[in-house]
């Protein structure tokens, strides 16, 4: 009934390491385009920045995917938590609960539930472990908080990647524009002389 989706361990790891896990060169703002192009052509510089840009976008996509996983996971944990809390309430009140539970997609059967003191939590990897109700509630609450925390970390990482890719994008446009202006000026210079 109450299940806890897998991969909790995996997502905890990403929270621990924070933004340092983004093993990419930082996108540096170009103060002076002319100085930046010293010793190389605009095309070469753009090519290099483009490669960085692709990299940033790729990482951003991966982060967005883990974001989607987290976003889907949170309501699942909340659902499990609500079920455990219901059982705890009923147990405290000493009431019997009548449940309609799904036998298959369209078939529901009736069950009387009384004096339930534990639930099996699905830990993933085909493992289910029985927990006393209070412990199950605690575990699920911790997992819920972790998932929310991970979502925050993920948002920060996405923001960093966005900054990098936007900066790089602007840099490319600036180098391109600088090059066009330079070529035009030198042409005009030759025409005039």
């Amino acid at each position: 009934m109450a299940e806890e989706s897998a991969s909790a361990e995996a997502s905890q790891q990403s929270a621990a390491t924070g933004s340092e896990i983004l093993h990419v060169p930082k996108a540096v703002f170009i103060e002076d385009v002319a100085a930046f192009l010293e010793g190389r052509t605009a095309d070469e510089a753009i090519k290099e920045l483009n490669a960085n840009y692709q990299n940033y976008k790729l990482i951003e996509q991966e982060l967005q995917q883990s974001r989607l996983r987290l976003v889907a996971k949170i309501p699942e944990i909340q659902k499990a938590l609500a079920a455990v809390e219901m059982l705890i309430n009923k147990q405290q009140e000493g009431q019997e609960v009548v449940l309609d539970f799904g036998l298959s997609e369209q078939i529901f059967a009736k069950a009387k539930v009384k004096d339930v003191s534990s639930v099996g939590l699905w830990l993933g990897a085909d493992v289910m472990l029985e927990y006393p109700l209070e412990e199950a509630k605690q575990l699920l609450t911790t997992n819920l908080n972790n998932a929310k925390e991970n979502l925050k970390t993920n948002s920060k990482e996405v923001d960093i990647m966005k900054d990098f890719s936007t900066t790089t994008e602007v840099s490319i446009a600036r180098i391109y524009n600088f090059d066009v202006t330079r070529k035009r000026t030198s042409k005009e210079g030759k025409g005039g002389g």
Binding site: M1, A2, F29, E31, V33, K79, A80, A82, A83, M86, V97, V98, L99, D100, F101, G102, F108, D159, K162, D163, T166, T167, E169, V170, A173, R174, Y176, N177, V180, T181
Partner: protein, 127 residues
Amino acid sequence: MSGSIQKGNGGPDVAFEDQENINSFNKLFTRSSEIEAEIKVKKTLVDDLEDASNELMLADEEEVRYVVGECFYHAAPDEAEENIQKAADEAKESLTSLEAELESTKAQMAELKKVLYGKFGNSINLD
């Protein structure tokens, strides 16, 4: 893609401060669409809960089925109403805070637009 410097247009060069503004704008832009999506979901939830509450009042049953997890449990209408009310209050609260966040995000975006369009005019695209 929002907030990009157009290629091939002259315009003043980008200072570090401008770059930071462009970056901020871009993030706000993404965040605002995220909030809008969240608001939509929450609104539906608030409406659904309201419908449920109304139906419950009209139903006049001794016992109703209340969804919990993947099951339905048989609850007294009072208990169901209490649960629905609690869920509705939570949903409304988060809807209010999301709406406030959206408003402040939009205000910041408008401010940045003013600054950036003021400096770069047509050579920047912020939509």
